[in-house]
Amino acid sequence: MSAIFPMRSESPGRNFVPQVLTANSLREGHVVFLDALAGWSSCLRDALVARDEAAVQGLTIVLENGASAVVEPYLVAVLRQADGSWRPAAMRERRRVQGPSIGSEKSAVCWSGRAA
């Protein structure tokens, strides 16, 4: 399996923050992420992480050309965790990935790359 966007080998600039492309699915409204096969996955661990400017450009092209299967796509900054997984930098985006924190909606978290 190869990524649809080339990943440059040289290291990105010092202030660069890796990004993923997120949206909500059109039919169901669920949170989804663009994966490396140009599909949309409900798990952040499947997301294509743009690790340099060129890759971010690739995501931006998808964003701007409209992905018809999704609603309101946008880029989200992600940070690498000690265990190698990625998680959103912003609190709002972490909540969006995790689902509601209350009652029966405490959902299985799949952003750590470890949970089922």
């Binding site: 909500n24 059109l26 039919r27 169901e28 409204g29 309101e72 709002r92 509601p100 209350i102």
Partner: protein, 552 residues
């Protein structure tokens, strides 16, 4: 209750069919999201943080048992088995799939409901007193006026693209349970010195990022002139309300910018310029609508039964509940019962489908098959015989709905916050849960007495924090949730906007902070003095001192 006529029914069905076609074209790729978004919003369908959300209108908060059952069925069929009653007497479902929404709307239409005008820059659902038609202190039932306004404002061609959303509330009592001073237009049904009943018109109130207490635009508006006068008012707003900045687009900003006297002159000029009507049509229509809201024939109980519940007197939980959760009724021997959706540790305003069905059954058994949704996110059973209170409470209690905490510290209002809402900056529901859990002990709640805690998860103030005796506003600072406290707000006829106490508190500090506020009140209060009375007497200073005292 008001019943749809053939036109209403046909119209709502046609709108569902129209939206079904729009959804299909969106799914087929014939409509872009840019084209589709305004169409879905006109049908109450939002995209929230995790999913779509649909907001269903409950006109002036009145529901039949049949409608409540339909909402329960919708929760099971199209959502995750629950719904969220909002601070505007509506209900929201948090997880509908776009593909299911046309069927959901058909299920609503089956029981004369819809989601039209629950979004967008139009006149939103008209809200009212949840005790409308039964309150002992009522001058006149506000529901016919609210229904008249609902019909007038539904798809009003001139007012479908206002500068911003527009909210109207109506009350018919001297006690304001509809927050009329915090709406774009608030109407109070009043009696003139000569004994004629008409309307006092309040304008320019609101919460959000710019909280404003509405001001009196017209002391006394005779019946028959309401629609013409409101049309003139809306026309001035529609022309001069700001469209360049959505944060300055509400009517409150226009009224403040012009000053109420200048605004009044413009409304009067617009009213004078409009074609004159005798008012006969409006009066006749109001009279026709009023026939839908007659007091049901309630059984008369003999003296032995009217004495009230003989059983239950020894049950302190029942006594507490009947003290706090019942309101005086127009009809002797009856009361209105408030069922709080504020189980300790639960989500304020949420009701599971089984709770909805229990409430529908209780309405059938005890309250003429009718319920009301309150802006405090509770449910009212409006026609309960006092002699049947104990039996009702036992049934509510066994369903987990019998908490006697109405108006107490655990009867907390909270918006969905960052757990659901795309606009939120912090969570609100877990804060409500933590405060309610801390003050769960009924005797402590009883001792603290009347105290409203209201929590919003962002500056838009859907959780009404500005008017909470204790208001909590959740914000984000440096990637963390933090919470600002305001004190002394009041949503009633003694309207006040809460004063900010000082710097905010982290999620872990907020419950101890509320404890300190409550502790200070208990220290300061005179005998039988409520929190608000104490606050008004001593001011914010001692509360600030207790909130920000540095340990030495």
């Amino acid at each position: 209750m008001y019943r749809y006529d053939e036109f209403d029914d046909k119209f709502v069905r046609e709108r569902v069919a129209q939206f079904r076609g729009q959804v299909q074209r969106r799914l087929d790729g014939l409509l872009t999201e840019e084209e589709f978004k305004p169409l879905r919003l006109m049908n109450g369908l939002y995209l929230q943080l995790h999913a779509y959300m649909i907001r269903v209108a409950i006109p002036y908060g009145v529901l039949s048992a049949r409608q409540m059952r339909a909402l329960a069925n919708i929760a099971d069929r199209f959502d995750r088995g629950y719904g969220h009653f909002t601070t505007r007497q509506n209900i929201q479902f948090n997880w509908p799939k776009l593909v299911d929404v046309p069927d959901l709307l058909d299920a609503l239409a089956d029981v004369e409901m819809h989601a039209i005008q629950t979004s967008g820059n139009c006149i939103r659902n008209i809200t009212s007193d949840p005790l409308a038609g039964v309150a002992a202190d009522e001058i006149e039932d506000p529901r016919p006026t609210a229904e008249l306004l609902r019909q007038w404002s539904s798809l009003h061609p001139e007012f479908s693209y206002l500068p911003r959303k527009f909210k109207i509330a109506v009350t018919g009592s001297s006690t304001d349970r509809a927050a009329v001073y915090f709406h774009d237009v608030g109407l109070r049904i009043v009696r003139s010195d000569s004994g004629t009943v008409g309307y006092q018109v309040i304008v320019g109130g609101g919460q959000g990022r710019t909280p404003v207490i509405g001001v009196i635009l017209r002391e006394f508006l005779p019946k028959g002139e309401l629609l013409g006068y409101l049309e003139a008012l809306m026309r001035v707003y529609n022309l001069h309300g700001r469209r360049d900045n959505k944060y300055k687009a509400r009517i409150k900003i226009l009224v403040k910018a012009l000053g109420v006297d200048a605004f009044r002159s413009q409304v009067d000029a617009a009213y004078a310029a409009a074609p004159r009507h005798s008012g006969e049509f409006e009066r006749a229509e109001l009279a026709r609508i009023t026939t839908h809201f007659e007091m049901p024939k309630l059984s008369v109980f003999d003296d032995e039964h009217r004495a009230g519940p003989a059983t239950g007197v020894l049950d302190v939980r029942f006594q507490r509940w009947s003290n706090h959760n019942t309101s005086a009724h127009k009809v002797d021997g009856y009361c209105a019962v408030t069922v709080t959706l504020k189980r300790i540790g639960g989500e304020p305003g949420d009701a599971s489908s089984s709770a909805m069905r229990t409430l529908a059954t209780m309405a059938d058994e005890y309250s003429q098959s009718e319920l009301r949704v309150t802006h405090e996110q509770n449910i009212v059973l409006p026609y309960v015989a006092e002699c049947r209170l104990y039996a009702l409470w036992r049934e509510l209690q066994s369903a987990g709905l019998g908490d006697g905490n109405h108006g107490l510290i655990t009867d907390i209002i909270a918006c969905p916050g960052l757990d659901y809402c795309a606009l939120a900056t912090a969570r609100a529901i877990p804060v409500a849960q933590a405060i309610a859990t801390r003050f769960a002990e009924p005797q402590e709640q009883e001792d603290i007495g009347s105290l409203s805690v209201k929590i919003s998860g962002c500056i838009n103030a859907c959780g009404h924090h500005h008017v909470g005796h204790i208001g909590i506003l959740g914000l984000e600072k440096a990637g963390q949730e933090y919470y600002q406290i305001t004190l002394g707000g009041d949503a009633t006829e003694t309207a006040a906007i809460g004063e900010r106490a000082g710097p905010g508190f982290s999620a872990t500090e907020i419950v101890p902070a509320i404890e300190r506020v409550v502790g200070q009140y208990r220290q300061q209060r005179n005998r039988d003095e409520s929190f608000l009375e104490t606050y008004r007497r001593v001011g914010i200073k001692p509360f600030k001192e207790s909130l920000y005292a540095t340990d030495t």
